[in-house]
Amino acid sequence: MDIFVQQVVSGLATGGIYASLALALVMIYQATDVVSFTQGEMAMFSTYLCWTMLNAGVPYWVAFLSTLALSFVGGIVIQRVIIRPVEQAPILTIVIVTLGLLVIFNSLAGWIWTYVQKPFPSPFPSKPLRAGNVFFSAHDIGAIGITLVVLLCIYVFFRFTPLGLAMRAAAHNPVSSRLVGIRVGWMLALGWGLAAVFGAVAGMMVAPNLTLEPNLMGGVQIYAFAAATLGGFTSPGGAVLGGFIVGVVENLVGTYVSFIGTELKFTVALALIIVVLLVKPTGLFGTTVVKRV
């Protein structure tokens, strides 16, 4: 039982990281109508920016917040400079552009920071927390906390602010949005900015567990895809829940199903994607988008 609770909590911690990146994928999907393959690599790049600041002696939380700000601006710039010119192009073109960005960010990080693994600090104490006979990693608990704070902020932003409302409107109905005066192009750019912020949070929270290297987010990105597919690419709340489910399931399956262990954990995510696509392609909470052609 103790092991079970421990595995669930640790699953929630990684699940929160998947949820953040899944949310980034959903944001991009809503803004740009494509699944972006570059969010993980952007997150990795953001994490390197944070590492560079920390190395220069910047206090953790200052570096953390500066990284979020830089990622936000970076996401907007990428949308305006690279995505916007191909906005009207066929979907495949945009997907290939995001794949290209993936390769660029990955190589750029290797070129700037080399492929040597670097330790990345956690802002939380290294001493485990104890509840009865169960020990929890303080970083796991802290990561869950940070994920929840980010999710709460973004919920409040979309639900209760005029700008959040305008972004939702622009994602759902760009034509009507223009007719009420919303600058739809900028709303999409803001979506990319926010997605970069979620990715950065995911990167900085996962790096202490994995150590920092240019392929940091490769695995996380697959799990985030599984999470977004499970919850539904059209449902931000669903993707977040999907993230937590994938995190917990991954951990429990790795612990209790002996033939899977740690080696085949990855396969679970891919199998999940295939099963969801076969059984319920819209995901648990997604809706079918009907388009007039």
Binding site: H172, N173, V175, G181, R183, V184
Partner: protein
């Protein structure tokens, strides 16, 4: 028609969908304060004319609103000049609530405050919407969605209201109600209205001035009383 009083002026307007030309040199002007209607059959270019004013279609020719050229502006900037457009198909934000739809209607106006005043005003025109304030707009009936489209446009506090077939697909009683409110809006709030309609009888009753559009050209225009008396119009558009 004194030049100083002209709100909207369209000169030699041509519009294109790809290589297809939908308007072949449309010219007209509208004075402030009235209700003008554009009549015409399906495919005559009525919707395209409104879309041209809102910059949603590629055009050549001149469009001036209160003396300012619109041709080079983006749709969202045209809205900011005070031109509200309730589009074909109503353009409802179906995922959002009625209140959120109305809030969005006020997005493009200069003075952002005092939304409560506007809510009160549009709910006084459309009491049916007030009770559904927190309901998803997609769950409204067709008539209510059309009311919402007009209400959303009014939230801009527009000087010119473009209405595309507000009667389409609605029960006659609902249509009469909407047209009654449009007259009130025009008289009380001083909103100039440009109405596109297939229902010629209704439109002629409401409007003071009429343009008749046929295959992308204006073929006749005049005060609505005159056109109602015209035999050819009566036979072709009123059916008696």
């Amino acid at each position: 028609m004194s030049a100083a009083n002209i709100l909207l002026e369209v000169r030699d307007l041509e519009a294109f969908y790809g290589r297809t030309k939908a308007l072949h040199g449309v010219s007209f002007s509208m004075t402030a304060g009235g209700i003008t209607t554009i009549l015409g059959a399906n495919g005559a270019g009525k919707t395209t004319t409104l879309r041209a004013i809102s910059r949603m279609v590629r055009t050549s020719g001149a469009i001036r609103f209160e003396g300012q050229a619109l041709e080079q502006r983006a749709t969202e900037d045209v809205v900011r000049l005070g031109i509200a457009h309730a589009p074909e198909g109503r353009g409802t934000f179906v995922h959002l609530t009625v209140e959120e739809n109305l809030r969005l209607g006020a997005w493009g106006r200069r003075e952002r405050g005092a939304l409560q005043e506007d809510f009160a005003r549009v709910f006084s025109y459309f009491p049916a919407l007030e009770g559904r304030r927190r309901q998803a707009a997609g769950t409204l009936s067709g008539g209510e969605q059309q009311m919402l489209a007009v209400a959303r446009a009014l939230m801009l506090r527009p000087r010119l209201l473009l209405l595309d077939e507000p009667s389409l697909g609605l029960a006659p009683m609902v249509v009469r109600e909407i047209f009654r409110i449009l007259r009130t809006v025009n008289q009380d709030a001083g909103v100039t209205i440009l109405l596109v309609e297939q229902n010629a009888a209704l439109a002629l009753d409401l409007a003071d001035h009429v343009f008749l559009l046929e295959t992308g050209r204006i073929v006749m225009e005049g005060p609505s009383e005159d056109l109602r008396k015209d035999d050819a119009i009566r036979r072709a558009y009123l059916g008696y």
